[in-house]
Each structure stands twice: as structure tokens, then as C-alpha cells.
Symmetry: C2
Subunit: 332 residues, 2 copies
């Protein structure tokens, strides 16, 4: 009799354990379905850049990773090692073949990536562009600086530094959309708002420190009275600063650069570069992933054929960094 | 002895149940902390509009609600009943007093709300603007149509409808930023790109069907050869269509309107209105709430003082609706 009682009790006990465990599991699943934005860990989103090793991308990638962590999905970071459009296309083709959950790409060229981006979208992979746009492509959105506005801001800053007088020049990367826009905004503003200033040269620094240094040396030789140089990109800014330190003469031209890598910040701190333009890079990465997640999970419940499922353009904003606030920009 | 065995077994059974239940609960909590973006249900986000009863806001509010549901937070919908700036200020003051988790507001006037928005931000309440901007305010972001671009698109559409020839007019609401921008984009594009077209009148329809009808009647009387009228807002478009139907004569001017409420869609379907401009209203509401959530939860881990914690501007895009695709726009 005693043994039967024990067996009964054990059976009842295990049954209760089973019911309780089942209940808590189904409770769990139900909550997860409605509670919070959350993906699957095997959902992989890829960020694609060029010159992928440079510091500049770190903050965008951090934003991309932060969003992925918040949404419980995975990320991969890819890109061309050099500033080489064919290499970026090859990398993009490889990624498409693996059918990831989404791709955020900074296009090295405004037109040459269009076809490959179209291939990805046609294969059902959500694509957004960040930092550098490819305006004619099938990508769903562009998230980045309004670079024309950034050029306007740089022009006003240059006028402040030069008291609105004298010759100025630009060192840029003409075949990349974001740099062209910065240059255009700068040129238009100087011409419209500062009649006593004149842009005497726009040179191709190829996004490279050595080329930009050479360009700046030419400018300094051809225009010894030059009052300021705007470098639309960080490597260029460092190259220009080297040229000015070497042969700038007594009346050193003011330099405005772009971005906030350590090299640039050090030169702002030392006074070699007067100002640099800080972009909202973390926001580019963070909201790129949020947009891709929204596209992949069809979260737009009001979607009408032919209308944008996510916002078409996101301007992450621009901030001027000078000696006064440069310390805030060093990585903590 | 038998009784003691039973008591022991019951105690062990209850202990196991307790352990298992505790384990599953803590497992649950732990998962929730890292898994997914998720707020608290007592976290209340408020959407504030004007003329709050009109159809136009429904889709923005749906986006706001969809995001709230996804993020497990609450929403409240408030606004002025009339197109009355003082009423909207009063409503906003009442909301601030209750310290909500965030406010998304469509500003009835580009300047008059600035002080009250500043009060909210200074009180630590995240604020974003959507649909109609207040550019000088302390709000963290503006999410809406790039209305200048929308005006450009409307001008090209008007040129297509009129074969790029003849007199055209605008009926608008001049003291509201979004309408001013639409008008400016339209005027600049006609002037720049269509030398055989001329804008002969820009009238104030006050966002009202009756006033807009009267304005259109004046236009039709003063310019009997008018080829087209652009109404920058939906009530106005319906008023203009009424005037044209009444006294438009044999050569009825083409009408381009704005937005996709049922009244406008019906008139597109009947051919009274040739085209209307569809805004990404769901995206305005959805991403407004996402931005407010991000601000309230300090999700930007790269935040530097003086830089935008969320993107400054979001362009939700614009799409042209004609008889061909109008059926897609009726609420399902």
C-alpha cells in the first residue's frame, strides 16, 4: 500500500511539473510575439563600405551594431579594402549570393553601384544607402548628412575665419556624390553671400592624404595670398594641413576639414585645422538597421504599391567642431 | 510512517514546483532585458495636431499607434478642434503639465508654437515635429514631406497636364510653413523650367473649403483662360473643384490637389481633380514615435553635447496619384 501511494504521488508531482513547465513556455512565446520589436539571431544584416579599415566607419558601425543588439539580430561588416569601385561591386555581389536579411551600403560612386543594388532589391533583399548616396538606384532610402547644407555651413564658417575676405580653395573628391554636394553648397554660398571672397581653385585630392597634400602645395604656389582651404574629407584635411605647415608662409591659410577621426581632432586641438564638420554617423548606422528591419519584417501596415515603405531621405545633421568643443569628440 | 512519507513527498513536490516556477520567471525577465526594443505600458506618448477631427491625421496616428504597439508603450491623441493657434498652445500646455514620455506635434504656425515647445524640452520631455515644421524651435527632429520638393513635383505634373503652356494659379495657406514651401517650390519650378507658363495668382484659401472655393471663383473670373490651379491642401482642392464645376466654362482648368482623404480621391476618380499628391503620413507617425522612444530611453550611445541625438530631418517622400492608381489609395 505504502509503495502504491508513493508511485501515485510521484506521478501526480511529475504531471504538475509538466503542466507548469508547458504553461510557462507558452506564456513566454505569447509574450514575445507581442512584446517589443525583436528579430531572430540568425537574421543577418550587412554593412558595406569602402576603404573599410579607416576610423571613419567605426561610429556608423557602432550604431548599426547597437540597433542589432537592441533588436536581437546579427550584423556583418564588409567592404572594399581600397577606394576601388570594382572591388566594392565584387564584395556586394558576394553578399547578395548569401541572401542576407538586409544591406546598408555607402556607395563609392553615385552611378556605378546602381545595377548591383538593383540586383539585390530584385532578389528581395532590402537595401538602404548611408553616408554616400547613389541617387538613381532602387535602394529604399538614403540616410546621411545633407551634404549640400554641410557645404553651406562650411562656407559660413570659412567667412567667419577669414572675416569674409580673400581667395579660398577647395580640395575634394569630385566623383563621389557627397563630396560633390559639399563643394556645390560651399561654392554657391561664397558666391551668393560673400562678394569679397572668391573661390580660385577646386582640386581633386582623391580622398587621399598624399594627393591632397600635392593639391594643396599647388594651390599655395599658385595663390600665395590664399586665405582659406576647405577639405571636404578627412584624409584630405590632414594632407592640406601638412602642406600648409611646410610652405604656408607667414600668413597661414585657415583650414576647414571634415569628420572627427583622431588625426583630424589632434590638428584641430593644435590649431593647424581651424574647424572640422562632425557628421551624425552613429545615427546613420543605427537608423539604417532600423529601416532594414522594418522593411524585412513588413512593418509598414499602410503600404501602398509605388509609395516609399520607409522614409526616402534622412538628414542626420552636421555640427561644427573647433578648438572650443574638440575635447567632446575624442572617443571615450 | 505512511503519513510522514506523504508529507515529505508533498513538501519536496512543492519545493520543486517553486524552484521551477522561479527559474522560468527569472529566465523570462532576463530575456526581456536584452531581447527586443520594449518600453513600459504606462509610458505615454502624445500626438498633437490641429483640426484634430479631420481624416488627414488618421494615417499618421495609425503609424504612431503601430509603433507604440510594437514597442509596448501607450499613446494619446490630442489637438485643437479648430485651426486655432491659441487653442493648440493651450492643449500643448495641458499636456506638458502631465509630463508624458514624449510629444509629436504638427505645428499650426511656424513661429507661434516655438516658446511652448521650448518649455516642453526644458522640462525634459522629448519633442519631435511632424508634418508641419516650426524651424526655430527646440524640437529634436522634423519628420514630414520635403514640401519644397513636393511643390517641384506638382509643378512638373501641372506642366504635363497643360502641355507646358498657359496661366496657372495657386490656392494655399500662406502662414503655415509646409504650404508656403509647397508654393515656393511650385513657383520656382514654373519660372525656371516652363517659360510658356505663368503663375498669375496666389490666393489664401485658409485651409478651408468655402474660402478656397471663393478664391477659385475670383481666379476664374479674373483669368477666364486659366489652364490650371494647384491647391496645396485637401479642403482647398475640394473647394476649387466645386468652383470649377460651377463656373469653369467649356475649357475647364486642370486641378492638382494634395493628400488622399476620401473626398479628394472621389474627385480624382471622377476626373474633377487631375492629380493629387500623396504624403508618407504613416511613416511620419511611426518614426516620430520611434524617435521619441529613442530620445526617452537615451538609446544613442555616441551622444556628444550639442549634436543631434536623433536625425534632424526626415523626408517621408511624395507620390503622384492620378485616375490610373487612385484605387490603391482608398482605405482597405
Amino acid at each position: 500500500m505504502k509503495k502504491i501511494w508513493i508511485v501515485y504521488l510521484l506521478l501526480i508531482g511529475f504531471f504538475l511539473l509538466y503542466v507548469l513547465d508547458y504553461r510557462s513556455q507558452s506564456h513566454l512565446n505569447e509574450q514575445w510575439k507581442t512584446a517589443g520589436l525583436r528579430g531572430e539571431i540568425d537574421e543577418k544584416y550587412v554593412m558595406v563600405t569602402f576603404q573599410m579599415g579607416i576610423d571613419y566607419w567605426k561610429s556608423s558601425l557602432k550604431g548599426f551594431e547597437d540597433a542589432a543588439q537592441a533588436l536581437n539580430v546579427s550584423v556583418e561588416y564588409r567592404g572594399s579594402t581600397q577606394r576601388d569601385v570594382h572591388e566594392q561591386i565584387t564584395v556586394l555581389e558576394q553578399i547578395i549570393a548569401k541572401k542576407p536579411a538586409g544591406i546598408a551600403i555607402s556607395a563609392i560612386h553615385p552611378a556605378d553601384l546602381t545595377e548591383t543594388i538593383g540586383k539585390a532589391v530584385d532578389a528581395g533583399i532590402p537595401v538602404v544607402l548611408f553616408d554616400s548616396d547613389a541617387p538613381g538606384s532602387k535602394a529604399y532610402s538614403f540616410l546621411g548628412t545633407n551634404n549640400y547644407s554641410a557645404g553651406i555651413k562650411a562656407a559660413h564658417q570659412m567667412a567667419e575665419l577669414t572675416n569674409g575676405r580673400g581667395q579660398v580653395a577647395v580640395v575634394t573628391t569630385p566623383n563621389q556624390q557627397n563630396h560633390q554636394d559639399r563643394t556645390d553648397g560651399f561654392l554657391a554660398t561664397i558666391q551668393k553671400d560673400y562678394p569679397e571672397m572668391k573661390v580660385v581653385a577646386v582640386k581633386n585630392g582623391k580622398g587621399d592624404q598624399i594627393y591632397s597634400r600635392q593639391s594643396a602645395e599647388e594651390i599655395l604656389r599658385d595663390y600665395p595670398d590664399i586665405a582659406g582651404i576647405f577639405a571636404t574629407e578627412a584624409n584630405g584635411g590632414i594632407g592640406v594641413a601638412e602642406a600648409v605647415r611646410e610652405i604656408g608662409g607667414s600668413q597661414r591659410p585657415k583650414i576647414i576639414s571634415f569628420d572627427t577621426d583622431k588625426g583630424t581632432l589632434d590638428l584641430v586641438k593644435s590649431g593647424d585645422i581651424s574647424a572640422t564638420m562632425a557628421q551624425g554617423t552613429w545615427n546613420m548606422g543605427y537608423w539604417s538597421l532600423q529601416f532594414l528591419f522594418s522593411l524585412g519584417h513588413d512593418l509598414n501596415t499602410a503600404q501602398i504599391p509605388g509609395t516609399p515603405p520607409v522614409p526616402e531621405q534622412v538628414d542626420t545633421g552636421i555640427t561644427v567642431v573647433t578648438r572650443q568643443n574638440v575635447d567632446d569628440y575624442y572617443a571615450k
